[in-house]
Subunit: 215 residues, 2 copies
Amino acid sequence: MEGERLFNREEADLLLDIMVNRRDVRGNRFLDRPIEEDRIQQILLAAVNAPSVGFSQPWEFVLIKCNEIKQQIKESFIRENEKGADQFEGEKQKEYNRLKLEGICEAPLNIAIFYSQAQKPVLGQTSMSEVGLYSVVCAIQNMWLMARALNIGMGWVSIIDPEKVKQILKAPEQNKLVGYFCLGYTSQFLKQPELEILKWESRKEMKEIIFNDTY
Amino acid sequence: MEGERLFNREEADLLLDIMVNRRDVRGNRFLDRPIEEDRIQQILLAAVNAPSVGFSQPWEFVLIKCNEIKQQIKESFIRENEKGADQFEGEKQKEYNRLKLEGICEAPLNIAIFYSQAQKPVLGQTSMSEVGLYSVVCAIQNMWLMARALNIGMGWVSIIDPEKVKQILKAPEQNKLVGYFCLGYTSQFLKQPELEILKWESRKEMKEIIFNDTY
């Protein structure tokens, strides 16, 4: 155990504080101020220290600062968002249309994150092949927490056509887009998730989602 | 911005420290010592503060302490692990068979984590339906970091038949098993991932996985 890092309760509570204060940040909150290079590196360092099945590290990151590329991605969002709105009705649809759901052009930095499948069998991925994708999502969550700890906002844009984004970014055919993100300094981190404040959805109670030994 | 929580660089560096020291812990390291109830609650609190698409919180957790149930899960692991070993050849297969890849019976607590799909359209999930599953993975990564900050080991067991596990745990038909985990105090957190130490896989360099604007 020599030299092993042990954490104390205050450190664990600080981690919870970062988690609880993390928000999905959208375009109406981003500031027009670039993110310092060392902070971008710290966020990427968080990513590559995520767990990955069989230590396969199946992640790839495209960092986008070019306005023309952002504009092309934004066009995919606009098309998909119209289709998304159609899935809601009446008041809910009106509320949907009032929401700002991305910050592609406002955020100084966009990051597209891909799953690049190994070309050989991966230890631990032989029964549930989806765990490779899940490794990439673990990296995403590490980045989101690190961004928040650096007081940088991050937002997940899932209302896009992943094939269109692959084409815009010239991604290899075999890669899969896992997530598309906007990052930047922000005017405000809301106290609660915006959709909770707006009562779009309510917070689930622990007793609804925790089971003992079996369902 | 009144009352908004801002973090300093030391706090961000502590977060990185937790991430870098997080390990996948297997059965040869778990101690036979129960996890205190308040620590289990802190790990679950980390989970439910993960991001979720449209604030859908599509996660459900089965906490398993019963030895008989663990034994049934272990049987699924044994069957799947034999199939897994068959995908490797020669020396690699011998090395595979020397590795301890789970800690189902040794760990005092197992947690099965499911995706429970909403019965209505979810904001943000209309173009990429897989983002509901990804929300559950974000919760998993929060748990893993919190466990580490509490000096509790956690290991992901992916070499199981998810349908068999659903049956053992009497999970609703529509739920999907995302991950199965072993948690407990541990004799040691290795300095590096075990598969890196054993040179099963080598660490990727940043320049291999980072691209600017496009591939």
